[in-house]
């Protein structure tokens, strides 16, 4: 039998239905692959083997009766940010030491209700704050990709680095991820995988550890555009437990695939051509434009004039919201407690020991910009700039643009330790963060390899709740570019 872990999620689904193999066999293949690869890739921080086998057995019983949901028997990895009942849920932070929730997040509940099998919890930057997976309490994730002829380790991007690496190394069929400033799309681009951040409000945030509540959205990372469409259909829902969950029915995203893009208007924003951007990123972008033109799409030049202000505004809004959200970690209700002379001393000792340096930095920035006398100068101004960023997109869509094509990242994967300056690290999200600020859907699809043999991605940005067009257009790029698979060294 061929290696089952190499299948796409769609192929595995069809194979299970055709009874070519069982979910138990498929699940066992992934558990074996994880056991062999994880010491080198470090994508999983917890493997739930017994639970996976039980879920697979139950799926096989349903499949045997001709029953089963949309994801019946399909093994997935779950980012450590999602609450999973009785299972390691720590946002890869020391401060949530030992936390095992008594409840299940809405997104993962939806997946299990559709029959999916949980393989374990995936590594990530601490509290989703990072672009390289170097801030995890559980150590760096190693990118399955290496430069041609090199054995130097590279980062998988972040914060959903474990999700992206697990998919790229075939350690799951697909993974849940979250995106606050680019945390789905940037790691997907750096690992040759597909990732979509849906419109704000499409996936419930209930049971997802909060970072910046007005920006956080869950979405899938998978091997193909089709696999992402299948996963998003199950992850998305209307949830009364999340007041920002939007009352719109979830469409059948897979049905949007294969539709012609003839006549669709694709916007190319001039402001995404930034100083110092490598020539190969520009070439990749031009190649993407050519593919879509060949497929019959109309290419229109557009302007999003406030693009350059999205990242500085983000680094006010996101830390401000994070400093409020992370106030709950006080050593009283869950996780780590470090004793002190009195209660304040206990809080301070706990938070100093429990939070890593990037998280502390963002809490301090957030506390400062919200503190008395500075609120108007920072937070209020940033929220006004955010209005302008959103207006740029609104105007482009009102003018008849159906989707926007940009590079996903300013460069390919880099080495751990290569970027130590926090602001330089933040620049990794320069093309993705605008989308979170405006609440729009954004998708990253692999489109080529760099000169050194590393995957590069293109980003598609859509109208609110028009994920279908993104899938439709992304599949055209995927078909033209082909799929990219890391050669196995692990």
């Amino acid at each position: 039998m061929t290696d089952l872990t190499n299948l796409t999620l769609a192929d595995a689904r069809d194979g299970l239905k055709a009874k070519s193999f069982s979910s138990a066999e498929l699940t066992e293949a992934f558990l074996g692959a994880i056991e062999a690869a994880n010491p080198k890739i470090n994508a999983y921080v917890a493997v739930t083997g017994d639970q996976a086998r039980d879920m697979a057995k139950a799926s096989d019983a349903r499949l045997a009766k001709g029953e089963g949901g949309a994801l019946e028997g399909l093994p997935l990895g779950i980012k450590d940010l999602f609450a999973t009942k009785g299972v390691h849920t720590q946002a890869c932070s020391h401060i949530l030491d030992g936390f095992k929730p008594e409840y299940e997040s809405t997104v993962t509940s939806n997946l299990w209700a559709d029959g999916a099998v949980m393989l374990g919890k995936l590594n990530m930057d601490e509290f989703a704050m990072g672009s390289s997976n170097e801030t995890s309490y559980y150590g760096n994730v190693v990118n399955p990709w290496r430069k041609t002829g090199s054995d130097q380790a590279l980062v998988p991007g972040g914060s959903s680095g474990g999700s992206a690496a697990a998919v790229a190394a075939s350690l799951c069929l697909g993974a849940t991820a979250t995106d606050t400033g680019g945390s789905i799309r940037q790691p997907a681009a750096l690992t040759g995988t597909v990732g979509i951040k849906p419109t704000y409000g499409r996936c419930s945030r209930w049971g997802v550890v909060a970072f910046a509540s007005s920006l956080d959205q869950a979405g899938p990372i998978a091997k193909t555009v089709r696999d992402c469409a299948i996963l998003l259909k199950s992850m998305a829902s209307v949830d009364p437990k999340d007041t920002t969950s939007v009352d719109l029915p979830v469409p059948d995203y897979e049905a949007a695939l294969g539709k012609s893009v003839k006549g669709l208007r694709i916007g190319i924003p001039a402001e995404y051509r930034v100083d110092g951007m490598p020539a190969e990123i520009e070439a990749l972008w031009q190649q993407g434009i050519a593919w879509l033109k060949d497929a019959g799409a109309e290419i229109v030049n557009i302007s999003l004039p406030h693009t350059k202000y999205a990242l500085p505004a983000y680094y006010i809004v996101a830390p401000a919201e994070a400093s409020s959200n992370l106030a709950r970690y006080d050593g009283v209700r869950y996780g780590l407690r470090v004793p002190g002379n009195d209660i304040v001393d206990m809080y301070e000792n706990t938070r100093a020991a429990g939070f890593g340096s990037e998280v502390q930095r963002r809490i301090l920035i957030g506390t400062y910009v919200l503190s008395a006398g500075y609120y108007d100068a920072y937070y209020l101004k940033a929220q006004k700039v955010r209005t302008l960023i959103k207006r740029d997109f609104d105007l482009a869509f009102e003018a008849g643009v159906d989707a926007i094509l940009t590079p996903a990242t300013p460069d390919a994967a880099f080495a751990p330790g290569e970027i130590t300056d926090p602001v330089a690290m933040y620049l990794n999200d320069i093309f993705t963060v605008t989308v979170n600020m405006a609440g729009l859907p954004g998708l990253s699809v692999p489109a080529g390899l760099s000169a050194s043999g590393l995957p590069l991605g293109l980003q598609l940005i859509g109208r609110p709740f028009d994920e279908e067009t993104l899938f439709q257009v992304a599949e055209v790029i995927e078909k033209a570019a082909g799929r990219f698979t890391a050669s196995r060294w692990w």
Binding site: G98, S214, Y309, P312, G335, Q360, I365, T367, R386
Partner: protein, 95 residues
Amino acid sequence: MSVDIQTVKRVARLARIKVDEASAARMTGELNAILGFVEQLDEVNIDGIEPLTSVVAQTMKKRADGVTDGGYPEKVVANAPVTEDNFFVVPKVVE
């Protein structure tokens, strides 16, 4: 705008994070780099612009005011570092 080490210590105190002299000094530099970066926003004309409060045009949903959950204190405190009789235990705050 930039911050000095005293401000960093004050903010750390507000955020309830203990910092020693060395980390306060390091953070001062890092925070100033970030504050310098966000200073670009001063170039933007925001006269008459309303702050964005929601990216989606939807009135916030309100559920019916009723009890929908609860009655399991042991689960609520299950993850707490120190508990007693289903209460959270903290250092003494009142003499």
